[in-house]
C-alpha cells in the first residue's frame, strides 16, 4: 500500500465526519468561541440589513440555512472568519465593501449571533421519528 493510500485510508472516516463537524461547528455552536454578542441598536440594524441585503434568500429568514446556504443562525465563527467567508467565499456571491461596508457586515454578524436558540428536539414531537 502506498503512502498516499494509507493517508486516504486514514481519512476514510475522517473526511465525512469532519465535513459534518465543520458544518455544525462553523455555523451554529452556541456557547463556543465566536465573538461577544452585542445587543441593542447594532443588532436591530443588523436584522434590517440581513433582510435588505438579501442574506435570507439563501440562509432563510432566521438564518436556519438549507440547500442554498449554510446555517448562520448563532454562528460560532469569530467575526474575522465570518467576514472573510463573505468577502472571499468559494460558494456564495462575494460581497465587496462597496456594496456592504465593514460596519454593515459587523452589524449583520451581530444579528445572526443573536438569533434565539430554537426549541430543543425534546420539545418538538414532530421531529420524533423513532
Amino acid at each position: 500500500m502506498s503512502a498516499r493510500s494509507r493517508i486516504y485510508r486514514a481519512l476514510g472516516l475522517a473526511v465525512p465526519a469532519l465535513l459534518l463537524w465543520t458544518l455544525g461547528c462553523a455555523v451554529a455552536w452556541p456557547g463556543e468561541p465566536g465573538d461577544e454578542v452585542r445587543e441593542g441598536d447594532e443588532v436591530r440594524e443588523g436584522g434590517s440589513l440581513y433582510i435588505s441585503q438579501q442574506c435570507w434568500q439563501c440562509h432563510g429568514y432566521e438564518g436556519q440555512g438549507g440547500v442554498a446556504g449554510v446555517r448562520i443562525a448563532r454562528t460560532a465563527l469569530p467575526y474575522e472568519a465570518f467576514a472573510r467567508l463573505v468577502r472571499f467565499t468559494n460558494l456564495m456571491p462575494a460581497y465587496s465593501p462597496k456594496v456592504l461596508s465593514d460596519e454593515q457586515l459587523r452589524q449583520i454578524y451581530d444579528y445572526v449571533r443573536s438569533i434565539p436558540e430554537p426549541p430543543p428536539l425534546e420539545e418538538i414531537p414532530e421531529l420524533d421519528f423513532d
Binding site: 498516499r4 472516516l13 459534518l20 441585503q53 438549507g66 456571491p93 430554537p118 421519528f129
Partner: protein, 663 residues
C-alpha cells in the same frame, strides 16, 4: 405520398365478413410482452405471461346495436347513399385494437379534430375502457402526466394530440421526459393528403413533418401510410420506447386513415416482445468487481438507476457485499436512506474507486465548476480515484440538446443497463472476495454506521432552526407532512430539491415507489401534472400520494388539478409557496454582487410573484379541488393538513397553500 386508401366495400355484400374479420384480429393477435408493458423484471414477467393473455379477446363483443349499425343499410337509404354517409368499419377502430393489444391503459389528451376518428373509436367502439381517455386542458399537462405515470407504474401512457399545435404545446414536457428517460407513446393527428383536407383550420393543423418540432428529444417516430404500417410502427415504437435508455416515441395518426373505411382485409396480428435490458460485458464486469474489491474506500453513486423495488434490492445486495457507501442522487429511489450505507455526496471525496450507476452527469460527480467570473473547474474526487461507469447513456443519445452533460473519460466504462448488470457484478464481487477482504467488512460497516448516525443527528438538529418561523420553514413543512403520511402507505410524487431535501433528510424512504425523482430537464410546469399522473398510477394500490408543489411551477400548469378532480384522482398537494422564482432571485443576487451594484432596491424585479399575491388555493378551488390556505402561521399547518388528508382518503384531490421560507 398518399395514404393507403381502402375501397369502400358494399355493406350489403360484406356484412358477415366484416364482423368476422375485425373480431378475428382481436382473437388472433399475439402480443407477447405487450399486454402489460412494464419495465425490467416486470416487463419480462409480463412477456412470459403474455402468450396466455393474448388468447383473451382484446375488446368487448359488439352489442346488437353496434352490429346493426355496422352491417345494415339504414332505413330509407340506398346502398350508394349509405356509402356516402356512413362508415361501417373505420380505420380508427383498428387503431384502437392495436392500442389495446399494446396494453396502453390510459391516453391523456386535449381533444382535437385531427384525431376525432380515434377519439370516437375510443369512447364508442372501445367504451372508454383500457384505454381510458384522460381529459387534459393542455398538451403539456398530458405529456407530463404520462411522465409521472411511468415513473410509478413502469408502463407508458399514450398522449393523443394534434400533430401541429398539440405537439408544440406538449414539447416542454416531452423534453423533460426525454432527459428523465421516461417513455411515452405520443400519438399525433395529422392530415397528410392535402386534397382531403377541409378548408381552414385543418390546413393550419397539418404539416409535412409534424414530429419535427420534438424530434431532437424523442427516440423514434414514424408516419404510417396504411393501417398495417400503423400497427407495426406502434409495436416498434413501444419496443424502442421501453428499451434502455427509455424515452418518448411518436407515431403520426393520419386523419384519413382514421376516418376512412378499413375494408375487410385481414390486417393480421400485431406482435412484439420487449427487449430484455442489456447487461454489461461479462469480462468488464469481472474487472469492475476486482477494482471494487481492491479498493480501500469504494463508493457507489446511483442516479437514474432503479426501475422498481428489484433494482433497490439489487443495489442493497452489492453495497452490503462490499460494505461500500451509496450516494443516492435520487433521480430515482435507488437505495433506502435508512440504511447505514446511505451516505451524502461528501463520501465521494475520500473514494479511491467510484462506481457510477446510470449517472445523469458522471463529470459532475467527480468535478465541479465554480460560479465565478472565470468558471474554473475543480476536482472534488481524489486525484488518484478511478471511476467505473455502468449505464445506458451511450447506447442512445442525440446531439442538439446538451442534456448529456460534460464528457468524462471513465477509467472503466461499461455500456449496459445498471439494474440488469448489478446481479452479475455482485456475484463477481462475492466470488472474488478473499477472507481478508471479507473480514474487513466489519470495520467498514462500523465506520459507515457512525457517519450515518452523525448525519441523521445533524439533520434533526438542523430541522429545529426556524421551527416557529413565519413564513413556515421547509423543515417544518416536511415534519408536519410526516405526521399526515407516517401511518399511511404513502408516496411522494414530487422532488424535494427546492425544499432543502427535507424529505430525504428526515423521512424514512425505503420503497421505490415512495420517491420518483426530478423533472429531468428542469423545465417548469412539470410538478402538478406529473404528480397527477403518478397519483393515478398509485390509485389502484390505494396509496396516499403527496405532491409538494412549487408556486412558480404551478402557475405553468394549474389545469392539471382540474384533471385530478374530473377523474377522481386522490392526491394531496401542498405548496412550497415562496412567492417568487427563487432560483432567479439568487442568480440576480450573484450577478449584482459580482458587479458590485448591490441589490437592495432591485431584487424583486422580474422574479417576485406578489403584489398582487396569487391566491393559489383559489386557483385550485376553481378547478374543483378542495382547497385551503394560504397558511401563514406554522401552528395552523398541522390541522389544515389533517383536514386535507381526510378529503384525499375519500378519493378526491385536496390542496393546501403554505407560505414558506425560500428554501
Amino acid at each position: 405520398m398518399k395514404p393507403d386508401k381502402q375501397p369502400h366495400p358494399d355493406p350489403s355484400e360484406r356484412e358477415e365478413a366484416a364482423r368476422v374479420n375485425r373480431r378475428d384480429f382481436l382473437s388472433s393477435a399475439v402480443a407477447a410482452g405487450v399486454a402489460a408493458a412494464g419495465a425490467g423484471a416486470a416487463a419480462n414477467a409480463s412477456a412470459r405471461q403474455a402468450a396466455g393473455d393474448a388468447q383473451e379477446p382484446g375488446a368487448m363483443p359488439p352489442t346488437a346495436a353496434q352490429e346493426a349499425m355496422e352491417s345494415e343499410i339504414p332505413d330509407g337509404y340506398t346502398a350508394g347513399q349509405a356509402r356516402e354517409y356512413f362508415v361501417r368499419n373505420p380505420g380508427s377502430d383498428f387503431m384502437l385494437d392495436v392500442i389495446r393489444q399494446l396494453g396502453l391503459e390510459y391516453i391523456a389528451t386535449n381533444p382535437g379534430s385531427s384525431f376525432r376518428g380515434l377519439q370516437e373509436s375510443i369512447v364508442n367502439y372501445g367504451g372508454n375502457q383500457a384505454p381510458e381517455l384522460l381529459t387534459c386542458v393542455h398538451e403539456e399537462q398530458a405529456a407530463a402526466m404520462a411522465h409521472g405515470y411511468y415513473k410509478v407504474g413502469g408502463k407508458p401512457m399514450g398522449v393523443l394530440c394534434h400533430g401541429t399545435v398539440g405537439l408544440q404545446h406538449a414539447s416542454m414536457a416531452v423534453y423533460n421526459a426525454w432527459c428523465d428517460r421516461a417513455p411515452m407513446m405520443l400519438l399525433a393527428g395529422n392530415h397528410l393528403e392535402a386534397t382531403d383536407r377541409r378548408a381552414g383550420v385543418e390546413w393550419s393543423h397539418s404539416a409535412q413533418d409534424c414530429v419535427r418540432v420534438i424530434r431532437d428529444y424523442i427516440k423514434w417516430d414514424d408516419m404510417p401510410l396504411s393501417l398495417r404500417h400503423y400497427a407495426e410502427s406502434m409495436a416498434r415504437g413501444l419496443k424502442i420506447a421501453m428499451t434502455p435508455p427509455a424515452g418518448p416515441v411518436a407515431v403520426v395518426l393520419d386523419g384519413h386513415l382514421q376516418e376512412a373505411e378499413a375494408g375487410d382485409r385481414d390486417l393480421g396480428p400485431v406482435a412484439v416482445t420487449l427487449n430484455r435490458p442489456p447487461t454489461g460485458d461479462e469480462a468488464a464486469v469481472a474487472e469492475a468487481a476486482r477494482w471494487l474489491l481492491e479498493a480501500e474506500s469504494p463508493v457507489i453513486v446511483a442516479d437514474l438507476m432503479a426501475r422498481d423495488q428489484v433494482g433497490v434490492e439489487r443495489l442493497v445486495a452489492l453495497a452490503e457485499a462490499l460494505q461500500a457507501p451509496v450516494v443516492n442522487q435520487f433521480g430515482r429511489m435507488n437505495f433506502p436512506n435508512t440504511h447505514h450505507l446511505s451516505q451524502g455526496a461528501a463520501a465521494v471525496a475520500q473514494a479511491d474507486v467510484v462506481l457510477g450507476l446510470e449517472l445523469f452527469d458522471v463529470w459532475g460527480v467527480i468535478n465541479t465548476v465554480r460560479d465565478r467570473v472565470h468558471r474554473d473547474s475543480v476536482r472534488k474526487a481524489r486525484p488518484d480515484a478511478r471511476v467505473i461507469s455502468i449505464g445506458s447513456n451511450d447506447l442512445f443519445t442525440k446531439s442538439n440538446y446538451q442534456n448529456f452533460q460534460r464528457f468524462y473519460p471513465s477509467d472503466l466504462s461499461i455500456a449496459g443497463d445498471a439494474q440488469a448488470t448489478l446481479p452479475l457484478l455482485t456475484d463477481a464481487a462475492l466470488s472474488g472476495m478473499t477472507p481478508a477482504r471479507r473480514a474487513s467488512n466489519a470495520a467498514r460497516e462500523a465506520r459507515w454506521r457512525e457517519v450515518h448516525s452523525l448525519a441523521r443527528g445533524q439533520a434533526l438538529d438542523d430541522a429545529r432552526y426556524g421551527w416557529n418561523a413565519v413564513p413556515v420553514s421547509t423543515a417544518r413543512l416536511y415534519a408536519e407532512l410526516w405526521q399526515v403520511v407516517k401511518d399511511r402507505d404513502w408516496a411522494l410524487v414530487s422532488d424535494d430539491g427546492a425544499q432543502s431535501r427535507w424529505a430525504r433528510r428526515l423521512w424514512p424512504i425505503e420503497r421505490h415507489y415512495q420517491y420518483i425523482g426530478r423533472s429531468g430537464g428542469a423545465g417548469l410546469g412539470y410538478g402538478a401534472p406529473a404528480a397527477v399522473g403518478a397519483a393515478l398510477a398509485h390509485r389502484p394500490e390505494g396509496r396516499f400520494a403527496l405532491n409538494v408543489q412549487k408556486d412558480g411551477d404551478m402557475m405553468y400548469t394549474p389545469g392539471a388539478f382540474w384533471t385530478a378532480a374530473y377523474h377522481g384522482i386522490p392526491l394531496l398537494t401542498v405548496t412550497h409557496n415562496n412567492q417568487g422564482y427563487h432560483q432567479e432571485y439568487m442568480h440576480l443576487q450573484r450577478m449584482a454582487a459580482r458587479r458590485q451594484r448591490g441589490i437592495e432596491s432591485s431584487w424583486r424585479v422580474g422574479n417576485e410573484l406578489r403584489n398582487p399575491d396569487i391566491d393559489l388555493a383559489g386557483i385550485a378551488r376553481a378547478t374543483g379541488v378542495w382547497a385551503e390556505g394560504p397558511i401563514l402561521d406554522p401552528a395552523d399547518l398541522g390541522p389544515a393538513l389533517a383536514r386535507a388528508a381526510e378529503v384525499v382518503d375519500g378519493g378526491e384531490p385536496a390542496f393546501v397553500d403554505v407560505r414558506c421560507q425560500p428554501r
